[in-house]
Symmetry: C2
Subunit: 348 residues, 2 copies
DNA sequence: CTGAAAGCGCTAACAC
DNA sequence: GTGTTAGCGCTTTCAG
């Protein structure tokens, strides 16, 4: 069967001695085909190694069973985990994925991205790029009135838009509640970049938790990092200066927390006795820091999974290009993982 | 321009008062169109917000400008980095990406994957799944005579097949050379899972380096891990038992090396004085381990980039479905990154 | 320079 | 049950 090209439905029809329509009925599992005919066609199909063209089908059915996924920062573990959740959920639902990665998080010119996706007739889009600075400005713009559903990840819930995010504020509150419970009272914060929505949510949680416990959350108690370990190292040095009697620090991600632990060790401080540390993310390494890191676990692959389900829901509910049927803003609750870096009470 | 559907070339033609071919000529930037006609059509196109359908084009041209990417283990950082390289290189070359992720590394039934990709008319395939156990058996099988080029990543070079990989053996040799140079003589090894080709390459390097330096590489000096930090912890304990006078350890990845450092610290051993440690990968955290980890940097995104370039090369060189024009096996050299965990000579 | 006809691979709608 | 006709949105002949 070494044809030079993939066989078409026409060839199958010819070999089986039927019309293309009948072949079409067989491959689409329609009932109205005589058993013998069906059998004969099935045999021909497998002999020829025939495979229907999803492309031709998409054209005629105006439905591609393909989702567009736009991501950014794939070299970091967070976005990859989300993508992981997207791929497995899409596979399960029988959808293919067209993947685009933005060169930068703050890519402003999103039109070509949408065009590329739309020209390939995707049925829906998952915008898996974190909300940073002005990179959501275009969402409101009328210019972009898509005829297909779109679900946004990791962004501030908005009217008439579907979003799926980890509840970062809740995560921050959980971490802070734990530190306070351990008896820490002078808790500093190392934040992510303040143009990230997720970072701001965590800062807000830190502030609110302190205020509600009647502790001060002064500006100098919070230093901004950029998620990288290196920035965490710089931030903690600054914090040691600005907040000398700090007894714990809530760090906005585990990578920065790692640098905090390292810096504290080098200073001869003991963790958790002299300094309590809590992170955010629960990367696989956190359990093996020295000491192991208390952190907030966020299941990013679940975000991806839910996003796929929502998108497909919207698609299959026969969306009409108006406001989404019921634009949902889904927030997923993260979880506290307690490890040694914050467990002062055991030692006291 | 709020049409209920995307406009077609026909509508543009009608509005502009020309035939569809003329519109086609304009969007394909053919020269033979009168300037005024072209101008008028261009205006109509932008007024209507017209966007040619890549699907219809793919059908007729038998060319989709789409690459199929098959990956696995996206929740780990390695595969994601490779994918990152793939997305940016594909974008640059003007190709789209159809992404599939295998549910498991050792997925045996790859036929449906290929079918899904082929039915969507991808022009080429990048198989970005590491070679593990028998998961490459099907490569030789005649049953799979694809009519499109395919490039395999992270696998043992083979006749008549194009592969792109990091030179893991070389990486191992570089790490070992460094440790030996530092005066370590009783060097143990914690390997990755032995069914991984990459793990075996690193083991071979460890063995050869010791042998060539006239040191013993006994079996008990090498313990198998599974890449996870936890497995590294178990492995190092075993190694402490089986090889009590070990003075250094070459660990097959950084995550396991992290657990090694932690275990050594807990035992009160000093690194690098009592135990030299070298890892593999150079994850962002390695520089912030305590002590910072000497490791082998592999630029996985470059693997992805090169793979895309090779695939497109094969596509555009008008491949005929026979053996690849010149199946290349590309190996990329990794690099040594020296940090404190192996720097005994400075302290001596 | 421009248009008409044919067809990529498939399916919807209707006939018989 | 099965075949015929038409057409998804586009490009490739080939006329003129």
């Amino acid at each position: 069967m070494n044809l030079n090209k993939r066989p078409t439905i026409k060839q199958v029809a010819k070999v089986a001695g039927v019309s293309t329509q009948t072949v079409s009925r067989v491959i689409n599992e329609r009932p109205d085909v005589a058993p013998e005919t069906r059998e004969r066609i099935l045999v021909t199909i497998s002999e020829l190694g025939y495979q229907p063209s999803a492309l031709a089908r998409s054209l005629i059915q105006q439905r591609s069973y393909t989702l567009g996924v736009v991501t950014a920062g794939l070299k970091h573990i967070g976005p990859s985990r989300t993508l992981n959740g997207i791929t497995s959920a899409a596979e399960e639902a029988g959808y293919s994925l067209l993947l685009k990665e933005l060169p930068r998080y703050d890519t402003e010119d999103v039109v070509p991205i949408f065009q590329a996706l739309l020209s390939r007739h995707v049925d829906g889009i998952i915008w898996a790029v974190p909300e940073i600075g002005e990179n959501r400005n275009w969402v409101d713009k009328q210019s972009l009135d898509l005829k297909i559903p779109i679900v946004y990840l990791a962004m501030e819930p908005k009217q008439n838009i579907s979003t799926v995010s980890i509840d970062n504020y809740l995560g921050g509150r959980i971490a802070m509640a734990h530190l306070l419970e351990q008896g820490y009272q002078r808790i500093g914060h190392i934040s992510g970049p303040m143009d990230w929505w997720e970072a701001r949510q965590r800062v807000a949680a830190w502030k609110d938790a302190l205020n509600e416990a009647n502790f001060e959350a002064r500006d100098v108690y919070c230093v901004e990092g950029n998620w990288s370990p290196a920035s965490g190292g710089l931030a903690i040095e600054k914090l040691f200066e600005q907040y000398p009697d700090m007894d714990a620090v809530f760090v906005a991600n585990d990578q920065m927390a790692l640098a905090v632990i390292q810096a504290a060790c080098q200073k001869g401080m003991r963790i958790p006795e002299d300094l309590g540390v809590a992170g955010f993310d629960n990367i696989p390494e956190s359990a093996f820091f020295y000491p192991p890191l208390t952190t907030i676990q966020q299941d990013q692959h679940v975000v991806g999974k839910v996003a796929v389900e929502e998108t497909i829901n919207m698609i299959e509910s026969g969306w009409e290009g108006l406001a989404p049927p019921e634009p949902k803003s889904i927030k997923l609750a993260p979880m506290l993982v307690v490890r040694q870096s914050s467990l002062r009470s055991l030692k006291a």
